[in-house]
Amino acid sequence: MRVRMFALALVGLLLITGLHGPAAGGPAPAAGIVFPIVGDPTFNPWHPRHFVESIFVTRVLFNGLTKWGKDSRWVGDLAESWEVSADGLTWTFKLRRGVKWHDGRDFTADDVKFTYDIVLNPRLGATGRAAFTNIRETRVVDPYTIQFVMSAPQASIVAVVGVNAGILPRHAFTGVAPENYWTHDAFNKRMPIGTGAYKMKEYVSGAYVTLEKNPAYFGGTPAVDTITFKVLPDVNAQIAQFLAGDLTLLFIDNPALVRAVQGRPNVEVNTLPQNNFYYLAPNHRNALFQDRRVRQAMLHAFDRPAMIRGFLEGFATPASSPLTPVLRNFFNPNVKTYEFDRARARQLLAEAGWQPGADGVLTKGGQRFRFSLAYPTVQYFEPLAALVQQYLRAVGIETVLDGADFNTFVSQRLLPRRFDGLLGWWIMPEDPDFFNYAHSSAAERGFNLPMYNNKEADELMEAGRRATSVAERERIYKRLQELMADDLPYLQLWWPSEIRAWNRRLKGVPPIHLRAAFQWVNEWKLE
């Protein structure tokens, strides 16, 4: 609420004052790249407190085994090559030789094992652990070869080891007991040691972190001397600083704010598709949503292009399934789509036995079509929920809005699955493996929030993890998208675009989403 008022105030002020003067979007900082983060970072990528305020810093300090490449496919980072055994149960990664830690020590397979032992230790509760639960153990074959022994095949492991999965130096934790890893402030909060393009220079809590270039970086010496992450929790402060030239680049989360930076000299605003979808998750265990025609009718009830135009300033694409076009060869463009069509929606609901009552709300056997919609009061979910309510009301479905602050939303609605419908989003690794989000085994304890349970979908998601050839995976996941577009485990709303703005002096940022682009930061230049 406060944030929205700020946003409106800022946009209003910018329009009123018409600040098209020379200073606007003015000089870029001379001191190197400066990027805003929303809170104090934690420098250990596995720390339970490693969230969005930390990932940009740790992606520059550390390397994973793989990373998302400039041509939108997974490429080696600390790993040079990898192969999987015929049964899909053993992955062997060959590591890059000659890589040095920031303190000059050699990087070896022991560091990889040390890192994954932390992840696999259930008592530590490392962040992101859920993605790795199929790994049973890691084995050091020789100093430059590491093996992952799986309890079940998982073809997406190549992607998973490349997302916020930085390798830690074993020697920085000698003498520290595993239960004290998260309180090892000397590393986690003060002096991290990585293999990345930049190394720690100065950290002032609550203010900024400055990293300096690592001349020994195995990917090539960075062109820019320093990169500074400024702690700026307020988005308006970020925009003001960007316009004043104190920030080199920033993310724009709220599309309404794009107008504040667009059209200024020296500012480039660009967008990219990302592997992220917004959804309304119907509770499949609720009798209301068990008929597929009801779910289809609900999706027909939304005018998604109009919502995107009016509400998201055009910065999104209506989604045809949870899997996005970012996945390129795995993406299936030929699936069932749902245009805005209220007549069709009413017809489908009628076929499912729902008839309008006296007040226009649908009834069936004396039951009104009324459900509660849970959502977090972050981003734009509050107005979105109101919009969803109106669209559904127009086809006779009554919605009770149930918004809560994020923490309460997660603990009281999402985790205990206490909702009829839920608005949310998933940002996923760039891999079609949708197992964690829709497989019936993930219904109670995993991320399958709608508690979807479909035998064919389960089999496809299992087969996709077992498959060893790309062609086979493509076939499986294209079929899965067809199935999901028809059966609607999630009512997919849209794929949001990533909106970034940067000073035109900044060059060499690869055309991939910014989190991944930070892993290529050694190629960025300031002209």
Binding site: R129, A130, A240, A244, S411
Partner: protein, 315 residues
Amino acid sequence: MGRYLVERAVQAVVVLLVVSTLTFLMVSLAPGGPEIMMTMESTPDQREALARQLGLDQPLAVRYLKWIGSALRADFGRSFGDRRKVNEVILERLPNTLLLSGTALVLSILVGIPAGIVSATRRYTLSDHTVTFFSFIGVSIPAFWFAILLVLLFTVHLSWLPASGMATPGAPFSLVNRLSHLVLPATVLATATLPNLVRFMRSALIEELGQDYVRTARAKGLPNRLVLSRHAIRNAMIPVVTVLGVLIPRLVGGAVITETIFGWPGMGQLAVSSTIGRDYPMVMAITVVVAVVVIVSNLLVDLAYGWLDPRITYG
């Protein structure tokens, strides 16, 4: 006097106990849990492991006794977020807040009290109307709007002053640099507190100026300047000091909006993020610090009464 101080100290201990118990109960009973357990991407086994690490698997009463046991030794434990020592974080943040709010307070006093005096002694003149006009603007203007307005004008448009932080990253320490970062947030904060002082000073002084002793002083031929400085102002200060007693704790608690907009690493920002993240140890420590400041400043105000008005004695 000595007995009075002892009594106040005993009262303070009771107040602190009540405040900390209530806060502990309230934060622990709030829906949700520590942020590190409540992400969309966490799994039940992760949450169970973290709950054990944080001691949340123990009953509330045990947790409270443990907390109070270590709090008595001035150890507030570790943050439920990044696991740093709470004392360390508070000691980092408190000076920043004191610097900002102290500057704002001094600014308010330096400007507010003279303005109130001018306003009272030249009642219904142009200067009085001007002071009143700006006081009303100051008290009505929302901090977030005013802050953004200042940033747009002085940072984006004129490039005179930095928009955020306490110093330029990486630059060697320089007083000018520090002060330039202080100007905008301190102005925003002072704008909110200043009108209170002006209005209280004005009304208190007007009341004193109508008193018999002022007429007597004037009748015996004392110059107006001395009437004011020796008699009226001193007496008029009592309500103003009371207002200050209320303002000081508010400033130490941190100015949430101002700190957030200007990226000032102070207590206000910390309090908000710890509350949102359900960082119980941090919330508790901040509460205790603010409670202590409230108690101490109330005591100082009471002692100041005695200094201002010799009729008030303690003991």
